[in-house]
Amino acid sequence: MDDLNQLQEQIKLELIAARDPEALEQWRIKYLGRKGLMNNLFRGLGSMLVEDRAARGKALNQFRQMVQEAFEERQQALKEAQLQAELAAEGVDVTLPGRRPQLGHIHPISRTLRDIYRVFSNMGFQIYTARDVETDEVNFQLLNFPKGHPAREMQDTFHTTVPDILLRTHTSPGQIRAMRDYHPEPIRVILPGKCYRYEQVTARSEMMFYQVEGLAVGRHITFADLKGTLVAFANQLFGEGRKLRFRCSHFPFTEPSAEVDIDCISCGGKGCRLCKYTGWLEILGCGMVHPNVLRNGGYDPDIYSGYAFGMGPERIAMLLHNVDDIRYFYANDARFLPQFA
């Protein structure tokens, strides 16, 4: 049986030398193929003595099994090596940029409005949209600004060529329209919209801007409720723990009236350029709806009371996003808008 041992050595050496599928196939044909060595060895059995045949046959069978296993093992190893090589070739530079779909962005003012809507929706407010082009009566007179009233000076107006038709100077005429629509139901609405003022356009003032007004009317609405609503709003929009300061002020359509400051979001009240070293930032105006306005809206001020507040989403967006020039918002510069995720 020495011949088989010798053969085994040779076969194994050749098997190791087969480094790719083609070489392995050559090897298989040479040893395990139909006309290969293994079959030749078995054919040799026929010419042997019968008494030797059994032992030789057994040895050959064992030998063939060993060779077959060695082949399969080698085949498996080569496959594995090939897979590893292929995987290695497929590696990428993960820092290369990806295939990006085109991106769009919501306008920062639309986003700010959404944030405001969300906060007030949670408190039961609904959005009521009113018109841009208004009458002098609804924009001013029904809100307690009679013709010639000095408070009109605070709202320089774009008049149209039609007498007493103007571009609304604030969203407050929406108060009248909402009340007339809904009375005598209780009201909680948010009135967003564009407003217009006859003012030179500068980094701090625009001729067209948005306002968001809030109005609540009911049988038990107090100034204390107004404070509660606005504290809840400021904490949700500007972050928990904000301090609010209510200053007495004057709007013809509310009585009492207040302006509201929050502690500076930049310096926390210590004093910085943003808050002009006061520690406070003015964010909105508010007050209890003036009895005349309630009456003009169809509510008896002896039974009903209400509050109203108004704010500028541009101002809020400027504070939240470090925007120092209001003119950016409606210039729609393609370098500005996409910065707001």
Binding site: L167, D225, R247, S249, Y277, P291
Partner: protein, 849 residues
């Protein structure tokens, strides 16, 4: 309103630190816009907020600290000519410590031989303002020799101390100024600059602010009404008064002051006026101003002798003042020497000859006081504030007086102003006052008694106060109160015209109680019926869909021009909206923003033009309003909601992985619209050719359920040109969002889907060129029946092997049965049916191979 602390202290005891007072005033509605520290150091809290260094001497607004150990009240001991310089004076100054110091000055108000004058003396090392710098700059006073003589200090001008811009001479202080006192103690001050809301004109005076300080802080107020003593003949010997138009003038009072001497007013008055930003002129003029700032009562001084001459010229011996409306077209020269044409709405102060002043706005040139005036007729009157406002605006004559009159000055203040003015003129001008006041008072000021209850306070403010507490608050504000059962009847003091109803009183209660002390509560009122705002919800949804489709939202100005609209009609200018079809501004700010837009496309294209300078690919949308007068209610225009989309530039600018540099076209936009409608669940959508003036031939109308919702297409090249856009495709859509509303609210009904395998079948058809693909697809879908679950066009081909005038459309069809696996036989049957129908109805042929 500027209010110096030193002046306020004349009327109210102020013990609060300045920063606390500032905060209290601001919270109570007297918004302190600024506080100026003149010569004195700001309080610790202010220095910390402004991050001022400990030894910082600049206090802001052009002011500095006058160091207490360096700058003093000094007194000139002697002065003589500088031996080596003709125009310089050598003076020795006693400043209360050690030997008098030598100073050298060229001030014109110090002459050789002068002595005894009190001056503001700065010792060496003092920090002062450099008067010769062209902007604010400080300097440290150093010793120096001038023409051989060493100077040991300086007598300062106002400019050097930051009091005013005055640098003509040195400050000469009053004789009673205490020598050796630190100047900061003697003259240092704090000036509050308070913004006045329109309802608070009562604080446009020092006494007005002092009253508020007293009410807010609880300190005592001492501002007694002025009185006078006189034995002179009665003023009624000098003049009569008649108010003709008492709807415009409610009261007119006059006093006569005889034998006055016109000269500069004293230091204290000049100094106070300067702190208020006023330039002193002469005692008579300064007094009218001073009384206006002190009491809030504008006065007008006439030269009585001029009035008398006028009376005599028509044979009258006595002056008669007549207050009446001007005649239409009447002419009058105001004291600024401008001749003005009047109309019937202008209220004039006249005599029997004619006008001598525009009531409340400006006096006349002819009767103006001058250096030679000896007898003054002092007017103190009250007017209709709306009318004064109109007149002051009409003649563009704003003034401190018109400002107060146009917000309402109470008539009860008229005699007070007159007495105070006359008294000061007598004191400072050496004259004597005719006894009594001449007046006409046809419309006495009314006092409103307003009811308020504890329940009102609770209901409106949410605070529980007892009746006594309410009364106490009102009394702090000098209200008169009368309790009648539950009700407190409150009458505002005479100086307030702004309290007319209960809510006004409630505001006063809240203000003095303190807004900060009002509790914070959550709404406990009944929740209103909850309703959708479908329009807004639709718009918010569209924002998400369109940004998801890669579009940038824009918000444009709604104001534009008629000409920009006309650019949309290059071939049919006659169709363009004409100027009268717009909402047009009567007072536009710029020629670019004159009318309210009738189309969002105009805004979108203006926006593209601006941005294409920075970027070559733009895909934007806007949700906004257009304004259509003729569709409105007759009074106001219709405001219609629209959605515009605009796209231009490469489809995909790409990168290292490749891209698609082809310009976006009709089908890119159509894809966006298809996706949008699908996400809105609005369907089925159909498209038909449209002909819009601003589009070229690629233009379509989109219909949902057969209803048109808008148009879109590629911009006409001439529109591109008109808008200055580059020479490449621009696609735009103009959609009516209101028309989408019903579909947005539509519910989704689930269609059953099958678990059996789908089978795909391709089919290529040759049809006439003019058969729209939409028709072919519709026929396929109809014929395919419920098993045909998807039809997708994958090829459109013209050319080789296709006859001229024909096109080939290749579709991939997907069949699926809900109940079984489809066999080849099944699909062949469907296919035959479809081909048969297409062949019959539109002459389609199956394309072989």
């Amino acid at each position: 309103m500027r209010a110096p602390l030193s002046w306020l202290k004349d009327y109210v005891d102020i013990t609060l630190p300045v920063d606390e007072l500032e905060e209290k005033l601001t919270l109570a509605g007297l918004e302190v816009a600024n506080v100026e520290y003149i010569g004195v150091r700001p309080p610790e809290s202010v220095r910390r907020r402004k991050q001022m260094k400990a030894d910082e001497v600049i206090t802001g607004n052009g002011h500095i600290v006058w160091e207490r150990d360096k700058i003093f009240v000094g007194q000139i001991v002697e002065s003589r000519k500088h031996p080596n310089a003709d125009r310089l004076i050598l003076a020795t100054v006693d400043y209360g410590a050690g030997e008098p110091m030598t100073i050298i000055t060229g001030a014109p108000n110090l002459k050789p031989g002068d002595s005894g004058q009190k001056v503001a003396f700065a010792t060496l090392g003092s920090v002062l303002i450099d008067p010769y710098a062209d902007h604010f700059k400080t300097m440290r006073l150093k010793s120096g020799k001038i023409r051989g003589i060493r100077s040991e200090g300086m007598a300062c001008s106002e400019k050097e101390l930051g009091i005013s811009e005055e640098h003509e001479g040195i400050i000469i202080l009053p004789d009673d100024a205490p020598v050796g006192a630190p100047l900061a103690d003697y003259l240092g001050d704090v000036v509050f600059d308070i913004d006045i809301t329109p309802n608070m004109i009562r604080i446009a005076s020092i006494i007005g602010v002092a009253r508020e300080v007293a009410a807010i802080t609880g300190a005592a107020l001492h501002a007694p009404l002025p009185t006078w003593q006189t034995q002179a003949p009665p003023a009624s010997d000098y003049c009569d008064i008649e108010i003709v138009d008492d709807d415009l003038c409610y009261r007119f009072t006059a006093t006569i002051i005889r034998d006055v001497q016109v000269k500069p007013s004293p230091f204290w008055m000049q100094h106070r006026l300067k702190l208020l930003g006023q330039r002193p002129i002469s005692n008579l003029v300064d007094i009218t101003n001073y009384v206006m700032f002190e009491w809030g009562k504008p006065l007008h001084a006439f030269d009585y002798d001029r009035l008398r001459e006028r009376a005599r010229s028509i044979g009258k011996d006595k002056v008669k003042i007549i207050v009446r409306r001007a005649e239409e077209g009447e002419r009058f020269t105001t004291l600024d020497n401008v001749e003005r044409t009047l109309d019937h709405d202008v209220l004039m102060i006249c005599d029997e000859v004619g006008p001598v002043g525009i009531g409340g706005v400006m006096g006349g040139l002819e009767t103006e006081i001058s250096d030679t005036t000896t007898t003054v007729l002092l007017e103190s009157a009250s007017f209709n504030f709306i009318n004064i406002r109109q007149t002051s605006r009409k003649f563009k004559l704003p003034s401190e007086a018109a400002y107060r009159f146009s917000r309402g000055v109470p008539s009860e203040l008229d005699p007070i102003g007159n007495i105070r003015g006359a008294q000061l003129m007598a004191d400072l001008g050496g004259g004597d006052i005719a006894s009594g006041i001449v007046e006409d008072y046809p419309r006495p000021q009314t006092m409103v008694e307003v009811p308020v209850t504890a329940r009102d306070v609770e209901r409106w403010l949410g605070i529980a106060l007892s009746q006594d507490e309410i009364v106490a608050i009102l009394q702090r504000l000098e209200f008169e109160t009368r309790v009648e059962g539950e009700t407190i009847w409150a009458t505002a003091p005479w100086y307030r015209l702004d309290v007319n109803i209960t809510a006004d009183v409630l505001e006063e209660i809240a203000r003095i109680y303190g807004y900060d002390n009002i509790p914070i509560t959550m709404l406990s009122d009944e929740l209103p019926p909850q309703r959708h705002n479908w329009q807004l919800e639709l718009e918010e949804h569209l924002r998400d869909i369109l940004t998801g489709a890669g579009l940038q939202e824009t918000i444009n100005y709604t104001l534009t021009t008629v000409a920009n609209h006309a650019k949309l009609y290059p071939d049919q200018p006659e169709l363009a909206p004409t100027a009268d079809q717009f909402i047009t501004l009567a007072n536009p700010l710029s020629s670019e923003r004159v009318v309210m837009r009738r189309s969002l496309i105009v805004s979108a294209l203006e926006n593209l033009r601006r941005n294409l300078r920075y970027q070559d690919r733009l895909a934007t949308f806007e949700l906004g309003l257009i304004y259509i007068p003729e569709e409105g209610d007759g009074e106001l225009p219709a405001e219609q909601r629209r959605l515009s989309i605009a796209m231009t530039g490469p489809r995909d600018p790409g990168g290292w992985l490749g891209g698609d540099p082809e310009p976006m076209d009709f089908f890119d936009l159509k894809g966006v619209i298809e996706v949008m409608l699908e996400r809105l669940n609005a369907g089925p959508a159909t498209y038909e050719p449209a002909d819009m003036p601003y589009c070229g031939p690629r233009c379509a109308r989109v219909l949902v359920d057969g209803e048109a919702i808008g148009v879109f297409g590629e911009l006409h090249p001439r529109v591109r040109q008109a808008y200055d856009l580059p020479d490449r495709p621009v696609v735009v859509a103009d959609l009516d969002t209101d028309a989408l509303l019903p579909y947005f609210r539509q519910k989704t009904h689930l269609r059953p889907f099958s678990d059996f395998p789908p089978v795909k079948e391709d089919i290529a058809l040759i049809v006439d060129e003019d058969i729209p693909a939409g028709r072919v697809e519709a026929l396929i879908r109809q014929t395919g029946g419920p098993m045909l679950i998807d039809v997708r066009l994958f090829d459109l081909y013209r050319g080789k092997s296709i006859p001229i005038g024909k096109k080939s459309l290749a579709y991939s069809l997907t069949f699926q049965s809900p109940t079984k696996t489809l066999s080849d036989k099944d699909t062949a049957k469907f296919r035959r049916k479809i081909v048969g129908r297409l062949s019959r109805e539109i002459g389609a042929q199956l394309r072989e191979g």
